[in-house]
């Protein structure tokens, strides 16, 4: 046996496995899973089996959506530095294989959630999948600067999935969890769009800074942060959460507001924009952790 064959075989299989994993965008999904699992503990008292199944189903559904998204966007991914190394544009995987993989794991997720959790949970997860692929990627992404505002709804499905998994229904608190992520998306994503606007322009994606200009995008980020701050405090008013959550939401929201104001104020805004992009990820995770902590402590 040729020694080089022995050494290269595991390496190749590891690369293929890494490519399959990268199709699911695991780093992005980790935040989605926080916003799926945390609401389960807010909604009730889930069993570890429920948590495990919803985590697995949520990962597969979101991963499937990300893979199908890479298939749909394969014509523009090559023109953006950020996406050029993905498996399809780099030539490591065929487009149809990526599509088949995405559809297969999304189908598995639907079966898993429908069979072992409940039909509403499966329907909501599948709704998020279709919204992301059809409404965001296929329809809005290349046609309007409102793409990430309306498309942001796709990322707001996970808390509904987690909530429905435990309660089998949706209520006002679940709607708030949905809206918090919906209105969080514009300041979060436009911070990145400000930084990557050249890339988006090259790919022909009409992101807000390219269509409205930087100043107007920064204004919009501020208006959406106002809405977000208000929305995060409102659940405390009708008793959904207590003081622990209220103080956390207020402090975390004011820090985000300060970051967004810095982008508008400073002439060289790249650093604060990058800070807001990264902090907004932490903000959302901590906000959902605060919800769980509030329920546990009060």
């Amino acid at each position: 046996m040729n020694p080089s064959t022995i050494s290269s075989a595991p390496s190749e299989s590891r690369t293929a496995l890494q490519d399959f994993v990268s199709l699911t965008k695991p780093r992005i999904i980790s935040l989605l899973l926080v916003t799926t699992v945390a609401p389960m503990f807010v909604a009730g008292d889930p069993t570890w089996q429920q948590v495990l199944l919803v985590t697995l189903g949520g990962y597969l559904m979101a991963g499937g959506a990300n893979a199908v998204n890479m298939y749909v966007d394969r014509d523009i991914d090559d023109s953006m530095a950020r996406t050029r190394t993905r498996p399809i544009p780099s030539g490591r995987m065929g487009a149809r294989a990526v599509l088949a993989f995405g559809v297969a794991i999304a189908t598995a997720a639907t079966w898993l959630l429908g069979r072992f959790i409940n039909p509403l949970t499966a329907a909501l997860a599948l709704g998020g999948f279709y919204f992301y692929i059809l409404v965001y990627t296929r329809w809005l992404k290349r046609t309007t600067p409102q793409n990430i505002v309306i498309g942001g709804a796709a990322g707001a499905f996970p808390p509904l999935v987690g909530w429905a998994a435990v309660t089998g229904q949706l209520d006002l608190t679940a709607v708030y969890l949905f809206l918090i992520i919906f209105f969080w998306t514009p300041p979060h994503f436009w911070a990145l769009a400000l930084l990557k606007q050249v890339d988006y322009g090259r790919a022909g994606v009409p992101m807000a800074p390219l269509v409205w200009g930087e100043r107007e995008t920064m204004n919009q980020m501020l208006w959406y942060t106002f809405i977000l701050l208000g929305l995060t405090l409102l659940p405390a008013s009708f008793g959904a959460f207590g003081l622990v959550y209220f103080v956390s939401a207020l402090v975390l929201g004011l820090i985000l507001l300060y970051g967004v104001l810095r982008i508008r104020r400073e002439t060289v805004w790249a650093k604060p924009a990058w800070w807001v992009y990264k902090y907004s990820l932490l903000y959302l995770a901590l906000l959902f952790v605060a919800m769980v902590a509030d329920r546990a402590l009060t």
Partner: protein, 95 residues
């Protein structure tokens, strides 16, 4: 949280959200100059995308107002002495 405090939180937080939403609507519907070559259809669609979240926010605020523990106290007329106080279920408005 006491009913009066919950009402204050609602008013302040809702005002913040409404002001933000009104600024989004103002800029989107009247403030921004449309890019050259933008069709009427595209402008209508743009207006639609801006209006839908505003309507959802409005409906949610209305639902929240209905779920406030203080609302009944504010809205209910003074009850005669000795009459029992009406109780409300724990918040959680089902859709």
């Amino acid at each position: 949280m006491s009913p009066s405090l919950s009402l204050i939180v609602f008013v302040v937080a809702a005002a913040l959200a409404v002001v933000g939403q009104l600024l989004v609507l103002r800029d989107g519907l009247a403030g921004r100059t449309p890019a050259a070559g933008t069709s009427v259809g595209a402008r209508v669609r743009e207006a639609l995308w801006i209006t839908i979240p505003a309507l959802v926010l409005g409906l949610t605020l209305w639902g929240t107002w209905r779920a406030l523990p203080s609302r009944e106290r504010v809205a209910t007329p003074v009850r005669p002495a000795g009459e029992p106080v009406a109780t409300r279920p724990v918040p959680g408005v089902r859709l």
